[in-house]
């Protein structure tokens, strides 16, 4: 909103106007001065140990507390963990998580930083906090060998949301393995209170095997140099913010997300599907932008976004460089519970079939030939395991987690008479697609299932998984059976 016009001053004596103006100007300057008073002069009283939290949680707001001596104890741990189903990775972490523990300070705090390198670790590390004013952001004084601890102190001079990361050679590799996190410096009096606060950080990962290739995947330096990411994820793993790990809020609440981007390479176009950011603290600084759809978060940068959730549902957090979201993992979920508000959002009102070019089977375009899985399933248990992975990647969106389907749209696979009646028909539906009216468990469905670009091996695994789940017939599907249908 623009400022209202000044009252008409033409009738006032010039001198008075001038005086008035001078007063206004000087008082403005005065006000600015107090606000910008040298933050290095803020006195500290007492000492406290900083609360550190694992993502997606953040510590308690600073509120009105005075500046203090704040002791931060950060432990570096190199450990193996899951990147996505069946894929493992050796992460290097601050505090045991990717991103590292969230540090919450206020302006004027004197932070005494203890950086501890776990004795089991192989490598030396250090930390560069972007909130530090000083050489290397602390990196210079925190270079620490395994089994040792380094201590350094700094005063937080500028409020804002800052990235911290490891800066040991090769720097890119330390960051690519997950060594980054966020430190928040709140202004005097704290940020305005909100209902929910969460901590989210994007990172890109480079593995020897391509996306989805099973097993323990080593870091690939060449791909990192070429900036060809295999995974782009929030909070260190593909499913870190989905399903049971989704963040939550209730209708009417205001949500604040502290969003960082560790990189090492990619810039994030952060977007929440179905929401508009009421406020964005651009790049984590003082500048507030309003009514933003997508905000850019540079590698090694951050932003604070705030929005009120008005309707219930699942809101998807994405990097809107959209292949990263749906093919590389940059996807999270915010589950909002509460009363519907049809004035704001009606939900579906009508659905029918629209086929302008005549009926036909759609096909997902692909540029690659279907490659057979490099590790075929050896037994029934593996078939079930691999089949479940395919299901979660390919079928889950429509047929849902328990095979229950979506009423009137996608038929159920659980206890499905249609499925159990004819295995060749089921195989054909997966490899050739299926369209038109069918009746499943007494309900009519008229929809389109696209042809799935899966290898025979994968089709056999996923159908075996489906047939042996949710009260189905227990049929085992082999690669040979799939090939037979394919060659018909």
């Amino acid at each position: 909103m623009r400022k209202p016009k000044q009252p008409n001053q033409s009738k006032m004596p010039m001198l008075l106007v001038a005086l008035l103006l001078m007063f206004v100007i000087s008082s403005c300057v005065e006000e600015k001065k107090t606000e910008l008073a040298d933050t290095s002069e803020i006195p500290v009283s007492l000492e406290m140990t900083a609360e550190l939290t694992a993502p997606p949680n953040v510590p308690t707001p600073v509120g009105r507390r005075k500046a203090k001596k704040l002791i931060v104890e950060m432990e570096i741990i190199e450990k193996e963990s899951e990147m996505t189903d069946g894929v493992r990775y050796v992460y290097w972490t601050f505090g045991g998580t990717v991103p590292g523990s969230f540090i919450r300070t206020r302006v004027g705090d004197e932070v005494e930083f203890h950086l501890q390198n776990h004795p089991d670790n192989k490598l030396p590390h250090n930390i560069d906090l972007h909130a530090v004013t000083g050489p290397g952001g602390g990196a210079e004084s925190s270079f620490v060998a395994p089994g040792h601890e380094k201590v350094f102190s700094f005063k937080t001079l500028n409020p804002g949301l800052y990235v911290y990361h490891c800066a040991t050679a090769p720097v890119g590799m330390h960051i690519a393995n997950g060594m980054y996190g966020l430190i928040l410096v709140e202004p005097e009096g704290g940020l305005p209170p909100v209902d929910k606060e969460y901590y989210i950080m994007q990172g890109d990962f480079y593995t020897k095997g391509k996306n989805g290739e099973r097993g323990l995947q080593p870091f690939d330096m060449q791909k990192a140099v070429d900036e060809h990411a295999d995974y782009v994820v929030f909070n260190g793993a593909v499913n870190a913010l989905t399903g049971d790990n989704a963040i939550t809020a209730n209708v009417g609440e205001t949500v604040r997300l502290f969003v960082g981007n560790g990189g090492p390479n990619l810039v994030s176009s952060f977007h929440v599907i179905g929401e508009i950011f009421d406020k964005v603290y651009v790049e984590g600084g003082d500048l507030v932008n309003e009514n933003v759809q997508t905000t850019i978060i540079p590698a090694g940068g951050a932003a604070i976004v705030e929005f009120r959730v008005d309707v219930p549902g699942t809101f998807i957090l994405v990097d809107h460089s959209i292949f990263r979201a749906f093919n590389k993992g940059a996807l999270g979920m915010l589950n909002v519970q509460g009363e519907e508000n049809e004035k704001i959002y009606s939900g579906e009102q009508y659905e029918g079939i629209y086929l302008p070019e005549g009926p036909g089977i759609q096909e997902m375009p692909t540029t690659n030939e279907i490659v057979e899985s490099e590790i075929p399933a050896q037994n029934f248990e593996e078939q079930m395991e691999f089949g479940k992975q395919v299901y979660m990647q390919t079928c889950f969106a429509c047929h849902q987690g328990e095979g229950q389907g979506v009423p009137n749209a996608f038929p159920p696979l659980a206890k499905s008479d249609y499925l159990n009646a004819d295995v060749d028909r089921a195989i054909s539906a997966v490899v050739n697609g299926l369209t038109g009216e069918i009746t499943v468990n007494g309900e009519k469905y008229n929809s389109v299932m696209t042809r799935q670009m899966l290898s025979s091996e994968e089709v056999a695994n996923v159908l075996t998984y489906v047939y042996n789940s949710w009260g189905n017939s227990g049929q085992v599907v082999t690669k040979q059976m799939v090939d037979k249908v394919k060659n018909k």
Binding site: K79, M173, K208, M221
Partner: protein, 257 residues
Amino acid sequence: MFTHTFRVILVILTFQTVGFSQPEGMVNIKGSRYIPLYGRDSTVVEVKDFLMDAYPVTNQEFLDFLKKNPKWQKANILKLFADDNYLRQYTNDTVFNASPNSPATYVSWFAAKAYCECQGKRLPTIDEWEYVAMADEVTADARIKPSYNQKILSWYETPRTDKKEIGKTPKNYWGVYDMHGLVWEWALDFNSVLISGESRKDVDKDSNLFCGSAAIGATDLMNYAAFMRYAFRGSIKARFSIKNLGFRCAKDVETIP
């Protein structure tokens, strides 16, 4: 009398062996010139012929040394020579809780150096160590092979390799085992390559120091694993005793008089 004669013969025999081939457990390394990773001017270094232990020193071997040299035992060692982690795997001065054939770790540089000197040996220099370490099973300098780098890196990413036993990794070109795959190793001049700990700043150093910027250059991509070794060496001090840090000894080649 008999024992005395026996000893004399033994001594003569030993000298003979030294003169003509290599002492037990050591391997002849033929010296050469090569360009190590650090140094921005592609400085060639020369490594003379020398002998190197085929295996890292094991817990058992180090215990034998401690028994003969009590001043290096956990209770007796001067604080100047080792930090509080020294011989952490030992439950008392002469009993350790680890595999006897695993590499001896939690050993400070001073203790490692003393061990080698007691054997009439010394610690290898960085140049010597790196020279031997750049070999794979078939080539003396395998640094340009992706498989070589990948193997080393996968070790860096494997936890608890210090618990492994010596001699299980393939023998390299020189006949040396376990240069990669078990533990880091002390070098005589480990702290001669100065790095400030702020790798990005080192880029601007004028002198021939460790150069962080080179990590990005294509020539060094071939051996970026080595950067981690240099970084590691830069982070330690001579009295540090670390779980993943062991050592082996080297020796100058004695010429036949």
